[in-house]
């Protein structure tokens, strides 16, 4: 069975803390995701997302603070702007833009974190593997007639 790989970038102040809360509350969710903690979701740029897809991620998740609650005033809005543009580019690249998800999850929303993770894992499972690591432009690229 297809086991998706989900790369999560979580902001330290809200979503990462929300994920911790899910843990201390002993809620359970899918094992398919692994978190990388950043100070703010606005630390992430499309290069990181592309790199994750290219290196085998089937889905990428970015978690930030709710609008108006950003620890750094407005970092989450910057993330929103980048994600909005990048999602349009994903479609041009032939990657389903649902494979990238941006959510606002606060430190108090352990439940929302768990639900989101389960839901996202399910969605990625339904979308199937992406296998971008196999996409290459090496010398062996075939020339068809």
């Amino acid at each position: 069975m297809f086991e998706p790989k989900i790369m999560c970038f979580l902001c330290k102040w809200c979503t990462y803390a929300g994920a911790d809360l899910a843990g201390t509350s002993r809620m359970k969710y899918d094992t398919s995701s692994i978190n990388l903690r950043v100070m703010c979701s606005s630390r992430i740029d499309p290069q990181h997302i592309l790199y994750a897809f290219k290196n085998g991620a089937d889905g990428v998740f970015i978690g930030g603070c709710h609008p108006g609650d950003c620890h750094y005033v407005e970092g989450n809005y910057k993330t929103l702007r980048r994600v909005t543009l990048f999602k349009r580019m994903m479609e041009d690249f032939g990657i389903d833009s649902r494979r990238l998800r941006l959510e606002w999850i606060s430190a108090a929303e352990g439940k929302k974190y768990v639900d989101t993770m389960n839901e996202f894992s399910e969605q990625i499972r339904a979308l199937g593997p992406l296998h971008l690591e196999q996409v290459t432009l090496t010398k062996e690229e075939i020339c068809h007639e």
């Binding site: 201390t24 002993r26 950043v38 100070m39 606005s42 790199y51 750094y72 005033v73």
Partner: protein, 656 residues
Amino acid sequence: MMGNGKKKKIGIFVCHCGVNIASVVDVERVAKELDGYTDVELSTDYVYMCSEPGQKMILEQIQERGLDGVIIAACSPTLHEKTFQNVAELAGLNPYMVEIANIREQNSWVHTDKEKATDKAVKIVKSMVEKLRGNEHLEPIKVGITRRAMVVGGGVAGLQAALDIADHGYEVVLVEKEPSIGGHMVQLSETFPTLDCSQCIMTPKMVEVSRHPNIKVLTYHEVESISGFVGNFKVRIKKKPKFVDEDLCKLCGDCADVCPQVVPDEFNMGLSFRKAIYLPFPQAIPGAYTLDIDSCLGLLPVRCGKCKDVCDARAIDYDMKEEIIEEEVGAVVLATGYDLYSMQALGEFGGERYEDVINGLEFERILSASGPTGGEVRRPSDGKIPKNIVFIQCCGSRDPELHNSYCSKICCMYTAKHAMLYKHRVHDGNATVFYIDVRAGGKAFDEFYQRTVDEDDVLYMRGKVSKVYKEGDILKVRGVDTLTGKLVEMEADMVVLAMSMVHADGSGELMKKLKVGTDKDGWLAEAHPKLRPVESLNAGFFLAGCAHGPKDIPDTVAQASAAAAKVGDLFARHELLHEPTIVPVIEELCSGCGICISMCPYGARSLDLTKHVVKVNEVLCEGCGACAAACPCGAAQQKNQTDEQIFSMVKAILKG
């Protein structure tokens, strides 16, 4: 290439956390799989890493093996990161070479499948190895503090903040743009809900401020610009010439007596007149006359010069010039207050057209014993006592479409007070209040409102007014009472508009100069709406009173004291320590495009105009990394979270 190409010696310590981790994650396998991973010198597990023996083991291993960095795979970094950093420091290792792999909250506690959880733990730890390989030794950025504060605004908020800071033992520079301190509160008549006389409680405070050895009062001064950062500001302040020497003026008033120029009196909201040389009000502090150059006939003695001729004290000096003074301070309290929204904006109420349609502050002056009518309620046009008075609330407030979307908060209460005081003064008069909602949510507020209705027979009409116009010398008010569903037309001798409060800083010029953040309405923005309500987003700036948003006097004073306490908190520190995980600029790569500058909410980044690169004020940088992501050429790299580190962590997570 990682870690500057130098091989590191990394120690990995996997914690069982009793059974908290070990029951789901095969910790031994984790330790074993990491053994031999790039740069890993040691990989081991232990039942409780945070216990005394656990910590001791880490300490000894660092020292014995000369580890360059350690990873503790255990609980969330929010719990014990500090603990393990201390251990590292004891062992002589830079605390920024400690990383925590969270395999409890974000792994063992949320999963049940042992196999998968163990695989996940391995990847988590590997990703932290990759991060650690790129980490640098960092030292907290240390900055000294100038233990001196500036308070901008001499209203009740500014005075309270200045007094509290001064009482903490620190010097305060109080800057007020008007000739006297006192602000709007000293203009008020009586204050809700206790009806104590505003001047009676305000003037002693003004005197206290003027006499306090730690407070330097600068009236008729305006802040020009500010540079520096928290703990170390340099402020340029413009001193406007008063043309009267404060120390020499004996308050005899001879100058005003001879002055031929008559202008509307600001203190009385234009309801009376003053001379071009004037004392704003009898209890003004500093107690000295001011020559208002805009109204004066001219300083050349050939043109007038009467005031100078009669001044026995020789206090008047026509040669005074505008000056710029500089002050060094460590913190700034912003208490710039409010103004009332222009009545002209609501043309249908006739505010600027009819003399007897006035705003709330004008009515305060009419009610005040020191006001133009000596406290008797008389209308401005002809001095008659108004027998019918109409109050209209929410004039420009709660109107997102045309005016201000916010509630001005104090109008419900002061209108109730106005109606009540009117009834106390004019027993046979009728007071009617048009309102949408009565918001009386403060201590003893609702009781006060009820008293207005119950005991003083004020008629509250639930609805708005659409038009106020004059027929003869009678004002006609057209409105609606939505409770009966009837149109209302009534005659009034006088109409008082509860104009919306707006921030005093006009177009926001001052806040732009100070580079302090404001909200969409121009009010000062707080650092966090719940947890940091008296701090600005910009370190070293604190908020007090209505500059932050509409507030009543008790709230204003409370916030001023809180701001003062925060200043004391800052000044009590030995030095300021700042997280070093900032985002510097690699000058060799930076082309000064300026994109990162607009990303920084703290103003930490600016263009170096000679080198054409961006320079970073390390003390202001909070290390969010938004600029690093926005930097189009990779010249902005966050310390210990570079792009290269993120890439290799991602790779480790996805490929194991």
